[in-house]
Subunit: 372 residues, 2 copies
Amino acid sequence: MLSITHTDGAARTGTLSLPRGDIRTPAFMPVGTAGTVKAMMPESVREAGADILLGNTYHLMLRPGAERVAKLGGLHKFMAWERPILTDSGGFQVMSLAKLRKLSEDGVRFRSHIDGSEHFLSPERAMEIQRLLGSDIQMVLDECPAFPATKADIETSLALTTRWAKRSKNAFGEQPGHLCFGIVQGGVFADLRRRSAEALIEIGFDGYAVGGLAVGEPQAAMFETLDAVVPHLPMDQPRYLMGVGKPDDIAGAVLRGIDMFDCVIPTRSGRNAQAFTRSGTVNLRNARHAEDAGPLDPECRCPACTRFSRAYLHHTVKANEIIAAMLLTWHNLTYYQDLMAGLRAAIAQGRLAAAAAEVAAAYARDEAVAPG
Amino acid sequence: MLSITHTDGAARTGTLSLPRGDIRTPAFMPVGTAGTVKAMMPESVREAGADILLGNTYHLMLRPGAERVAKLGGLHKFMAWERPILTDSGGFQVMSLAKLRKLSEDGVRFRSHIDGSEHFLSPERAMEIQRLLGSDIQMVLDECPAFPATKADIETSLALTTRWAKRSKNAFGEQPGHLCFGIVQGGVFADLRRRSAEALIEIGFDGYAVGGLAVGEPQAAMFETLDAVVPHLPMDQPRYLMGVGKPDDIAGAVLRGIDMFDCVIPTRSGRNAQAFTRSGTVNLRNARHAEDAGPLDPECRCPACTRFSRAYLHHTVKANEIIAAMLLTWHNLTYYQDLMAGLRAAIAQGRLAAAAAEVAAAYARDEAVAPG
């Protein structure tokens, strides 16, 4: 299903083909947490360039509920997105959002952050929910220890995650046209990561995610972990770095052989007046934009950049107008998709290192100055 | 400029032609208070059927400021809406929103509701602001007494409003391609309304608005006032009922010869889960929609109705997702524009009374039952 057309060092570009559509890799998946990519019409998400979305099992199981979505014809129909959807297993968000969670060998019991109601998530239930949603790529339930953690804690957690991966795969069963991905854990410990990868490969998955990163560790630690993990993953299957990241995180991970990403940064930042551009981040709340008739990013093709001025974006941000969230989300998703298209082209042309360095430089400059 | 093609009793349909585009009358103008029709892209407002928008002088003078908008190329360019814009004079909102307003013969001094800063609005400044914005239809500054008021209060207010109308017209001057409308005041007193209309006609305007209605009086009082005013307005010039209204208010006013309307109801209701449909209002927050796979309004052509279910709208309302505001605003504006198109067609076919009665019946039914 993954057809690799070009490689450049550890990086690869190609197409992951699914019945609902092709995914050009490396791919960025916008996050549609609760059945909507916030502030975006689904056709605008597609126009921005997305081939696949991510949906959150934790949010959807609580509201509107997996059985209800199934009764209404599945998540694609519900949210008017006919292309592929990847769902997470809910594990990460149960650990970070839910109240009063209680972990056992069987699964995790928790209370909803919405209404305090009690719920239970096991590997079997996580896979059942994802099947009810109609997810194209389903993720195993894993346990995600917080960073930093001791090696002993990570090792204990990893053992449970591996047992859960096996149960998840069994529960996934046979679903023609749908994929099941394992999740490599092991913190920043290379030997644990390798052990995790090998155990998952022995179970056998359609793709392999790297989990437990982008949880507060420095970028260098993330890259080192990728360097330790990726060589142990199958060449011919997709590799997905969960929850990553900023543009320079993505460029560095593509260099290291990652094929898929998801992150709330472009959408969340868009709702907070923060824009990603070819020359770093721009804070539209800043008064210096108030009389700027120029575009946010002169090279961008999105409506925020082609039809409105920085002055308009600044005004609507200050006035708390919904169109500010709409336009800046649209812009950020377009920037992210164009970033991925640029990285794919660079791999095909054997110049990824230079392209990735350019992204890193734009965002390094950015960190050196106050948000603008 | 107003070309009337058909009449049906007191009602008329035709086209008001302006350099920036034709306005099919009777027309509904969506409200773009602060340079945006809330939660809508401008092209979606157009797709819904709008020929003209309304902008609020009070909001725009405070933020981003009329001189700033002028420097940025005018309001049309600023908000990416190239068709006609009507601006109010700011009077109504100064009276209802601003703090510490102090009225004199010269104008009104007030404090901004945003930051408490002090501002002054006179007939001359109101017209200057509207010219700086580049407004196609500019409204005179009037004084708007609250309802209910004594006849003596209304009479005093009307005298000032009439003097201000003359100053406004003088300040408007000559602006080829731009129109200046007077505003008939006089509360619910037929003799004062008539006196107001005659005084304005003597000054001479490009169109006549009826102000001071939809401020809490019963619908019957509004209709009686229109019956008293409209016969005194010129046949060949546009008539605009300000701030009205619900669908049955509009249908009744069209029957009485009104050509133009504006109201925040469709947009504000859309952000509050309230939808207007051919069979009355629907509250999408209501749990009875949670598993309803059917469309909000099966006869509606908007994206909310053609691509999503009531269950999806309910879910996104409950989850406070921005797409709920986007879709329900889009739907309500589409309903309002289709309502106007239906009334225009009914006038052309000489069956307006039946069409208006149908609208009134849908919304009378609606008031008889709990919102649902």
